[in-house]
Symmetry: C2
Subunit: 201 residues, 2 copies
């Protein structure tokens, strides 16, 4: 192949494993020469579409406890501070709209800043101040971004993106989708997905 | 530490990721000098205890499709044939009772033989002939093993083992539990769990 393979990175702002993936995926893709498209979507809407009342991770207390402990262990290995957000599950609607409104090149830095506020500092990303700070950290002029996020165009684009996730077979986050339509679910499948996209299975 | 660390390997016969773990875990533990205790349990009973009607992997068709594709990819990488069993989810009650009835040293080979019948050949492990063949492959005298499996003692031991899994916080399979009580869920966490048991986090 001479063309650079493109992999879609589907993520949800309330998903701690999407947070971990957002921290890891940039350098992994760059090292392999894979181009990423960062695609925020509303996983809660996907759960509803699939007849689930909530995340399977929150349906069973033992599983929820395990999830936080597992995420904490991953953060320790990565040298990241970790805090369970008080407001969990998080309402990532505003952050998702802003992320959709941003140009592609600004989205990764904004996304990582939102995730760190949530899972390193335990803050509520539904607060406008948290989203504004994340925009500032990403070096984005925040007033136009917030204005765009409130337009019908952007609200509709986020709904369309969520529908597209369902159409691809996405049922959880993070999910990577390769050019041939293969799905790789979870922070544990990033390397495999990127290798698959390169055809080096 | 001078003592050999002991890790509990909790598995369910209907779980394809437990099958993958059973294929991989022996050599991984041996290479690290970790002793394994193979602990079959009834995950369906744990689901019921947790208020779930069925495995979360079977509650959403997109997730079920993904699971089989993911297991197929793992089998390809491991050079194993793969078939989705017609009778899925499998009824592993008989196989679990036999596994509990066996001496510790015979359990791994029997377990792997049952899993291969299920996920490499697609056979129904509820069939007595499948369990008998697995006993033969494991080099176990099958009549006494089957007789023991039908005793109240063994039925009760399997129920107790399932209760013990719940008490440890086990909610899915496979799960490894280290001597300090840490849980590691999934075929993707085998290496990490064994390293943790060695204190080499």
């Amino acid at each position: 192949m001479t063309e650079q393979p493109v992999v879609d990175f589907w993520y949800e702002f309330s998903s701690p494993y999407s947070f971990l993936a957002a921290e890891r995926i940039g350098p992994l893709a760059e090292a392999r020469g894979v181009r990423l498209v960062w695609r925020p979507f509303l996983l809660g809407a996907v759960f509803k579409h699939n007849g689930l009342e909530r995340s399977p991770n929150l349906a069973v207390p033992a599983k929820t406890r395990y999830m936080w402990r597992d995420v904490e262990r991953r953060c320790e290995r990565m040298g990241l501070p970790f805090r369970v957000p008080d407001a969990f599950p998080l309402n990532g609607l505003s952050a998702s709209r802003v992320a959709v409104a941003l140009p592609d090149e600004a989205r990764p830095a904004f996304t990582r800043a939102v995730y760190r506020a949530a899972f390193c500092e335990g803050r509520d990303i539904a607060e406008p101040a948290v989203v504004e700070e994340a925009l500032r950290e990403a070096g984005v002029d925040f007033e136009p971004a917030l204005a765009a996020a409130h337009t019908e165009l952007v609200k509709h684009a986020l709904r369309r993106q969520t529908d597209a996730a369902v159409a691809k077979g996405v049922f959880g986050a993070p999910t990577l989708v390769t050019p041939d339509g293969e799905l790789f679910w979870g922070n544990d499948r990033l390397e495999e997905a990127l290798d698959w996209a390169l055809g080096t299975r």
